[in-house]
Amino acid sequence: MKKQDNDAELEALDALFDTVRAHPPEVPQALMARVLADADVLQPTHGRHHAVRLGLRAWIADLLGGWQGMGGLAAAAAAGVWIGWSPPETLPDAGALILGYESAEVMSTTAELTSFGWDLDGD
């Protein structure tokens, strides 16, 4: 008798769950609108705009191979400047050759350089 009561109670409860499950609450339209508005405001579209604004810089960096490529380019440029300024003994002096002198020793005593105040001998 007790078991029959329990079974009936469980059946009634399951029927109640079925009823509630079959009729889920409707989402109020105003809530739906608020949630969609939130989604619009919070969508990370700023990233897209950022990408457009930084497009040229990013394009150049990509063209040169990113930061690694740009680093290599800067190092090569610095080495070039140094070699041009202070060439090794074995290399011809590009500056002297451009100015039409046979060697750097000749050039260093000429007025072309002393006129710039580069006379290092202090004479």
Partner: protein, 195 residues
């Protein structure tokens, strides 16, 4: 999964699309998830206005979390149910001490005259009984018997073991039966059985 087919896309795929700026993903996700979030909050809180606030806040957290979502690691619904339940728990703590009579009853949208009244009575009776359960029991019962989730899924949402889920749902159902005792005829179940 083609990105131009949002209906068949998984929740987490849609979330990634949303994070990448897709203009339609949010609408599809909202249509799919908001009814569940709102319904869950309504069952846990028994108050329509508060359930709306909680549902909106839970969805805001979803949108904010979207860029960091790791696809395939967890289910969006599991995460969302957990967030919703935590928000409801916070509200229930703040509300502690408020009498049941002061809590507004949830709206019942079902159409039709007699059937509507009957369904309304059933909704209200169940909601009244659910409101009297301890919060964890209520959450487990709602997830199992109204949301239709499996015990392992509930275990993930509630961050407990499957056995604890079984225990909570069993005790919750027993308590509901006690709370609803004597109301079967009033709720029309005796008639349906007889008919």
């Amino acid at each position: 999964m083609p990105p131009d087919d949002p209906v068949s896309a998984t929740d987490d795929a849609l979330l990634v699309l949303y994070a990448n700026g897709d203009p339609t993903a949010a609408r599809t996700l909202t249509a799919r998830l908001l009814p569940r979030v709102f319904g869950h909050a309504l069952r846990l809180l028994g108050d329509g206005a508060e359930a709306e606030d909680v549902a909106q806040e839970a969805m805001v957290r979803l949108w904010r979390m979207a860029p960091d979502w790791r696809q395939g690691e967890a289910q969006v619904t599991t995460w969302l149910y957990r967030v919703t339940a935590n928000l409801c728990t916070d509200r229930l703590r703040k509300r502690r001490g408020v009498g049941l009579d002061e809590i507004a009853e949830p709206e019942d949208p079902s159409p039709g005259a007699v059937e509507q009244i009957q369904n309304r009575a059933r909704h209200d009776a169940l909601q009244d009984a659910l409101d009297q359960l301890p919060a964890r029991q209520r959450q487990a019962v709602v997830l199992r018997h109204i949301e239709g989730m499996s015990n392992p899924e509930i275990a993930q949402v509630m961050e407990i073991g499957p056995r604890a889920v079984e225990s909570l749902t069993a005790r919750g159902k027993r308590a509901l039966i006690d709370l609803l005792a004597g109301r079967r005829a009033e709720l029309g179940y005796e008639d349906e059985k007889a008919g």
